[in-house]
């Protein structure tokens, strides 16, 4: 039986509304980018829907005391709308989802955060960035994306993978499709594969001076952009991308109810795990309250909650701070915690201080895309075309 909520906002209407008010301002600023566009009825409608959507999610998190179930709605919507908007923009700009030699030779490829894993060794040894992007101009420039990666790593650690990454919502979503897993008891040690893969990717990129993960392994090429198929090499790459997407992002998460791509494969996820060590927000387990039912171990979609962690009182370094284990624990033994502060106290302060930056990050990445995605959907349903 669930004990009473840990949070003083839980079930308290006015307190929850009061704490949602700052989010009104943040959502307004970040959805509109500071420049509201109320030039058409569809623009106004999409803004109002997006604004209400995010503030309702945030309010419900406070009012119900549940984190993951509302986070996941926003996070999955972000992944779907990001793909829609990205693809439509590419088709508008280039006429297709594939990039050409011209785009490569003019260094116009948008820099994705996962490339960070491959540029570190070459930066040290060649003093340059091994990526065909622009340093400062255009969409997703290298400098602008690196600032974002550094800022988020310092602010949230690997919380990025449950609140900010515009790819993570894919396997977060597919892992929720079935109510019960078909494949049970997946060995949690698979999470270490992503660290081995990070090493392989970082070294292979350094030796070949090529972003090898982008060139050969990224499943999300399937829903963003890929090299135009012009020869056997590019055909092989496309087959690999689509196979990895189907297996790691769709089929295995559906069957296991785990985020297989993010929990076992993504090298950026592995790199971000280290940033959990330099971040004040963590998830802790109160061993006094824990009745050892192991529901959190079964629930954790990222293999971060394991038996040794339960006895240590904290999940593994790979924890993405999604809050799913916290929501599921019937003993209220798991909670967000701020390093240095006393355990077993000030649950509301710790959770609220974490939720503000985490949810703001979600709004920053998802807000504009959801808003514009709604405009695109309205256009599609009224004219039959996204263009």
């Amino acid at each position: 039986m669930k004990t009473t909520s840990l949070y003083s906002t839980s079930g308290k209407l006015w307190k929850s509304i009061a704490l949602t008010l700052p989010m009104f301002l943040l959502t307004f600023v970040f959805i509109t980018g500071g420049k509201p566009d109320f030039s058409s009825s569809s623009a106004i409608f999409s803004f109002v829907v997006t604004f209400i959507f995010f503030n309702t999610l945030f309010f419900l998190m406070l009012y119900t005391g549940k984190t993951d179930r509302f986070r996941a709605i926003g996070f999955i919507a972000m992944a779907l709308f990001f793909a829609l908007v990205f693809i439509v923009n590419l088709v508008k700009m280039r006429g297709s989802m594939s990039f050409s030699n011209e785009n490569l030779l003019s260094c116009e490829i948008p820099f994705c955060h996962i490339v960070t894993t491959m540029i570190i060794i070459p930066i040290v040894l060649t003093k340059s960035i091994i990526f065909p992007g622009s340093i400062l101009t255009g969409f997703a420039s290298i400098a602008s994306m690196l600032v974002i990666v550094i800022g988020i790593s310092l602010a949230l650690g690997r919380g990025f993978c449950s609140w900010g990454c515009f790819y993570g919502g894919w396997d977060d979503g597919t892992s929720r499709i079935l109510r019960r897993p078909v494949i049970k008891n997946v060995n949690p040690n698979w999470r270490w594969f992503s660290f081995a893969f990070l090493l392989i990717i970082a070294l292979s990129a350094a030796i070949t001076l090529t972003p090898t993960y982008c060139s050969w392994f990224c499943p999300f090429k399937t829903v963003t952009e890929y090299e135009k198929i012009t020869n056997f090499d590019t055909l092989m790459k496309t087959i690999v991308f689509v196979s990895l997407f189907l297996s790691l992002v769709i089929i295995l998460p559906v069957l296991t109810r785990k985020r297989i791509q993010c929990g076992t494969f993504c090298p950026m996820g592995a790199l971000m795990s280290f940033t959990n060590k330099i971040n004040p927000f963590e998830v802790t387990i109160d061993k006094e309250k824990c009745n050892d039912c192991k529901k959190c171990i079964r629930t954790c979609p990222t293999f971060s909650m394991v038996e040794p962690g339960l006895s240590k009182g904290r999940p593994e370094i790979t924890c993405m701070k999604c809050g799913k284990c916290i929501d599921e624990c019937s003993q209220n033994a798991i909670s967000y915690h701020i390093r240095g502060t006393p355990s077993g106290k000030a649950f509301t302060a710790a959770r609220t201080l974490f939720l503000y930056p985490a949810f703001t990050l979600l709004v920053v990445f998802a807000g504009g895309n959801i808003q514009y995605g709604i405009v695109l959907l309205i256009r599609f349903f009224s004219t039959g075309s996204f263009m």
Binding site: L26, V29, F30, S100, N101, E102, L104, L105, S106, C107, I121, P122, I123, L125, T126, K127, S128, I129, I130, F131, P132, G133, S134, I135, L136, S141, I142, A143, S144, L146, V147, I148, I150, G151, I152, L154, A155, L156, A206, I207, L209, N279, P280, F281, I338, R339, G340, T341, P342, A349, A350, L353, F354, Y356, P357, T360, L361, V364
Partner: protein
């Protein structure tokens, strides 16, 4: 001590809370600062290297970059040179050019490009010139990279 740690923890958490809006609102300013760091340049394998010289012809100009022999440490035994042709008004339908990529007064290769079809023929005149790497229209110019052997290796 516990109280001090607790205060530090909360201050740290509040700073992180502020860091997210600051990162995004100040992104342009921070990115410009970051871009000034010495390592913030695209590797010549992707940028094509630094411009070495420009040769003017009737109706178009040829920009020859410095050869690129990038390796993680030192220089690679193989690399390429990037050459770009830009028309005064528009690209000529046929580009026929003889290039001395190392500027030693001796012609290194002849290149023939049909800019309508993209068909490119390379005739090496020097043993260090290997083959055509890529030939493509880029904005209002035509660009080719020619594979080379590193004479220093």
């Amino acid at each position: 001590m516990k109280k001090t740690l607790s205060i530090i923890g909360y201050i740290w958490a509040v700073l992180c809370l502020l860091l997210i809006p600051i990162t995004f609102m100040g992104n342009n300013a921070f990115a410009s600062m970051l871009a000034k760091l010495p390592f913030m340049k695209v590797n010549p394998i992707y940028s094509g290297g630094e411009v070495d010289r420009t040769v003017n012809h009737a109706g178009f100009k040829t920009t020859i970059n410095k050869p690129v022999f990038e390796a993680l440490i030192g220089e690679s035994s193989k690399g390429f040179v990037q050459v770009k042709w830009t028309g005064d008004k528009m690209l000529p339908p046929i580009i026929n050019d003889t290039i001395d990529y190392d500027n030693n007064g001796i012609r290194d290769f002849i290149i023939h490009i049909d800019t309508h079809t993209g068909k490119t023929e390379l005739t090496p005149l020097d043993s260090h010139v290997l083959s055509l790497n890529i030939s493509s229209k880029v904005k209002d110019s035509w660009l080719a990279r020619i594979n080379l052997l590193n004479p220093a290796k």
